[in-house]
Symmetry: D2
Subunit: 137 residues, 4 copies
C-alpha cells in the first residue's frame, strides 16, 4: 500500500506543473483538491471544462496508484465526463474518486467533482487506465 505522503512526493515529480493537493488516499479511493484562480476561468465566471477533466484524470491516477503502487506506466485509455452544474469561480474544486475495478491490465473508477460548499456535484467522470500486467508494485 502506498501512503499519502509517498504519493504526494511522486505527484510532485510526475505533475510538477499541476497545482493539485491529495487530501486523502486509501481503500480504492482518493480525494484531490485544486485551487481555482483566474487562469482556470471562462467568460461568464465558471471553471473551464478541461480543468475539471484534468482533476478527474488525476484523481483516478491517484486512486489507482494507491492500490497498485507507484507505477509510472499507468496511462489513461478512456475518460467519459458529464458536466452537470456551473462551478463557482472562487471556490476550490474537489474530486472524489472510487475505483470500480482493479484488474490485471485495466483499472476503472468513477469520480464525482464538487465546487467546495455545493452539495451536488458539478461533474461526474468514469475513466479507465491501462496498467502494466507485470508490475511488482
Amino acid at each position: 500500500m502506498v501512503t499519502k505522503e509517498q504519493l504526494i512526493a511522486f505527484f510532485a515529480d510526475d505533475f510538477p506543473q499541476v497545482d493539485l493537493v491529495i487530501e486523502s488516499l486509501g481503500n480504492k479511493s482518493a480525494t484531490l483538491r485544486k485551487k481555482i484562480d483566474h487562469n482556470h476561468l471562462r467568460p461568464g465566471g465558471t471553471v473551464a471544462g478541461p480543468v475539471l477533466m484534468e482533476i478527474a484524470d488525476a484523481a483516478l491516477y491517484a486512486a489507482i496508484l494507491g492500490e497498485i503502487g507507484l507505477v509510472p506506466l499507468a496511462v489513461t485509455t478512456n475518460l467519459n465526463i458529464n458536466f452537470l452544474r456551473k462551478p463557482a469561480p472562487d471556490k476550490d474544486v474537489l474530486a472524489v474518486c472510487s475505483l470500480i475495478k482493479v484488474g490485471r491490465t485495466l483499472a476503472i473508477g468513477e469520480v464525482s467533482i464538487y465546487s467546495e460548499g455545493m452539495s451536488e456535484p458539478v461533474a461526474h467522470a468514469v475513466g479507465t487506465y491501462s496498467i502494466p500486467p507485470d508490475r511488482t508494485g
Copy 2:
C-alpha cells in the same frame, strides 16, 4: 456563417490563456493546432492527457460556433475520449472535428487528434454541447 477570422477574435477573448490556432473552419468542421512545450509533457516524454482533452473540447466548440454563430452560452455536457497512441513530445498537436448533428438544443461531434507527422490519430473524442434553443447567431 462565422468566418475563421471572426472566430479567432472570439477565441482570443474567450480562451485568452489557451494557446490554440484555428487552422480551418467551415462545413460543420474545424481544425485546431496547439504548440506543445515542456509544460504539456509528462514524465516519459509524452503529451499529458488533459492537454488532448482541452484541444478536443476547443475543436468541438470551434466547429459548433462556426455553424450556429458566436454564442457564448454553448457549454459542454459530455465528452468521451479514447487515448490511442503516445503523442510525440516535440510536435504540434492537431485536432480535426466533424459535427455529427447540430440540433435545436444539442450539438454532437467527433474529433480525431494527431501528433503532427503521424498518420494515425493519438486520440479520438466524441462530445456534446448544449446550445441555447433561442439563439439568433
Copy 3:
C-alpha cells in the same frame, strides 16, 4: 411521485416484450431485475453485452420516471457502459440506478449491474435522458 405499481403498469405497456421486474423505486433510484435464459447467452456461457445495456437503459428510465412522472417522451441521448466481469450464465441480472442530476431538460444517472450473488458489479453505466422541458408529470 410515481409509485412502483404505477411504473410497473407503465412498463408493461411501454416495454411489453422486455422481461424486467422493477424491484424498488424512489429517492432518485431504481433497482431492476432480469431473468437470464439461454436466449441471453453468448458462447462461453456469459450474458451478452446488449442484454446488460438494455437493463442499464431501462433502470435509468425507471429512476427518471420515478422522479419526473410517467412521461413517455423521455429518450436516451447518451449511454456509456464499461464491462467489468463475466456475469454468471444462470443467475438473474440486477441493475441499481442512482440519478446524479435531474435538470430541466436532461437527467443523468449511473447504474451498477450485478450478477445475483456476486458482490462486485459486472458492468457500470452512465446515461443521459432528454426530458421534455414542459412536462407536467
Copy 4:
C-alpha cells in the same frame, strides 16, 4: 484475413438468436444490417435504443474479427453511444463500423448507425474490445 463468408458462418454460431446480416467486411471496416420488426419498436413508433446498441456492438465485433481472425475471446470493454435522431419504425437499420486502432490488447472503432433511406445517422457509437494478446487468428 477473414472473408465475409467465414464471418457469416462464425456469427451464425456465435449469435444464433440475433438477426443480423453482414453486408460487407474488410479494410478495418464492416457494415451490418438488421431487419426491424414490431419486437424492436417502442411506443411512439421508434426503434428501441438497445436494438441500436446491439447492432453497434456487433458491427465492432465483425470489423475486429475481420482484422484479427475468428477469435472468440474478444469481449467488449466499453461502449459509448449517442442517440441522434428517431429511426423509422419500418426500415432496416444499418451499422457502418470503421476501426480507429487495432492494438495488441485493445481494438477501438466507431460506428455510424442509419435508418435505411435517411442520409443522416440515427446514432453514433465508439467502442473498445479487449482482444487476447497471444491470438494466432
